[in-house]
């Protein structure tokens, strides 16, 4: 009997040595202890998950691009040129915000948040072009406080976010990350950043001056 227990103990120690303990870092594909073949449980279903692969399509991708020249049936018809292109009816850049965008504190807060995520890494928290990427070799990122960019119309800033400046100036489009409404929020926040450098005391309402430590 003693031999049986010794062998059991040996097998136990051997098993633990091979399997190790929880939390160990490993690179091999995780073991499936209840494979679907033996324990059918719909764990793996014949369905498409986003960003997955499929042999059905020639390029192996599940996600499909809309066919060229089509308009999605879902969502609003994008016929508001001011909102979606930043252009007036005559094709010129608009110098105001589109009628459907209300500039208020809420929009500016949204703009600040989006700016912090998508723009600040290069353009910097102050809009001076000194983002963190500059230290790693990003070329000259323009400052918003240049006269050229102060004079730039709202529509043109919107267009820059939408389509980028590549390849001439390296900035890629951000239309995939910012919805048109978010882009207008960022434009509003960029205007607010510019104001931080050009604002005067006269523009601060008397009741808000104590907040800035002014009389």
């Amino acid at each position: 009997m003693r031999t049986v227990y010794l062998v059991t103990a040996f097998v136990l120690v051997l098993g633990i040595s091979v399997l190790g303990f929880r939390g160990k870092v490993f690179t091999h594909t995780p073991m499936d202890v209840f494979p679907d073949l033996l324990f059918p449980g719909m764990k793996v279903q014949p369905k498409f998950r986003a960003q997955g692969t499929s042999s059905f399509f020639a390029d192996g991708r599940i996600d499909r691009m809309p066919p060229a020249g089509t308009v999605p049936a879902s969502g609003p018809l994008k016929d508001d040129d001011a909102l979606y292109l930043g252009k007036a009816a005559d094709g010129s850049w608009i110098r105001v915000f589109p009628a459907s965008v209300t500039v208020n504190r809420r929009l500016l807060e949204r703009g600040r948040e989006r700016y912090g995520i998508y723009c600040a890494p290069c353009h910097g928290g102050l809009g001076d072009g000194n983002g963190v990427t500059k230290r790693y070799g990003m070329g000259a990122t323009p400052s918003y406080h240049d006269e050229r960019l102060r004079q730039m119309s709202e529509g043109q800033i919107f267009d820059t976010i939408t389509h980028g400046k590549a390849p001439a100036y390296n900035m890629n489009p951000y239309a995939d990350k910012l919805t048109p409404e978010d882009r207008w929020a960022v434009v509003a926040y960029v205007r607010a950043l510019q104001k931080t450098q050009t604002g005067t005391l006269d523009e601060v309402p008397a009741k808000n001056r104590p907040e800035l430590g002014l009389k």
Binding site: M1, V4, Y5, T8, L12, G15, L19, R22, G23, K24, V25, F26, T27, T29, P30, M31, D32, V33, F34, G41, M42, K43, V44, Q45, K47, R49, A50, Q51, D59, R61, E113, G116, I117, Y118, P121, C122, V132, T133, Y136, G137, M138, G139, A166, N170, M171, N172, P173, D176, K177
Partner: protein, 217 residues
Amino acid sequence: MSHLFPKSANKLPLQIIIYLCVIGVVATAGITYYMTPKYTRVGYAPVQPVPYSHALHAGQLGLDCRYCHSNIEASGLANLPTAQTCMNCHNQIKTASPLLAVVRRSYATGQPVPWVQVHRLPDFVYFNHSIHVARGVGCVECHGHINQMETVTHDQPLTMAFCLDCHRDPAPRLRPRAEVTNLDWRAPSAAAQDAMGRKFVHDWNVNPPQSCSGCHR
């Protein structure tokens, strides 16, 4: 017949029963310890086609999670970034790095980078990222300190028990919405977290489903 079986054989049935009990205990302990995701999945850190370091990008540079995983607030799926997202910076930084060759090829040809999925739920689970983010569940609760990982490592078991722990009592794991992607954020004290969590549960009407159909369809 007495010479066929020694006297010690009388004890044998009892010894066998005791041994089977011991084996039963060992097997139960072994299955409990080794056959759950706490062992099979936690620690999974596959070799990726590009040795992208979250510790560098999310930790050192301080990029927000949403810079790359840009749909987490709007979509149920936390998307992987497009190659263009990488090229936003890498069209100027480390443009000749051989480690980025896969990304450059993807950007030029449109063929996706074959990233290896780390966190994978069974197909019968319908987890929605956007609602968790909108209700102040931090990324760190399920993914761990990604901003300290050179290679993304499966941090939490993501079992049904793990989900239900929070669905039954969400207050200890809720945070201000502005801190959702801040992986290093912690409430100043346990009491503060408790008060804050309870307030969020009330204000945001947090009512996580515990019914089967909440997560399974």
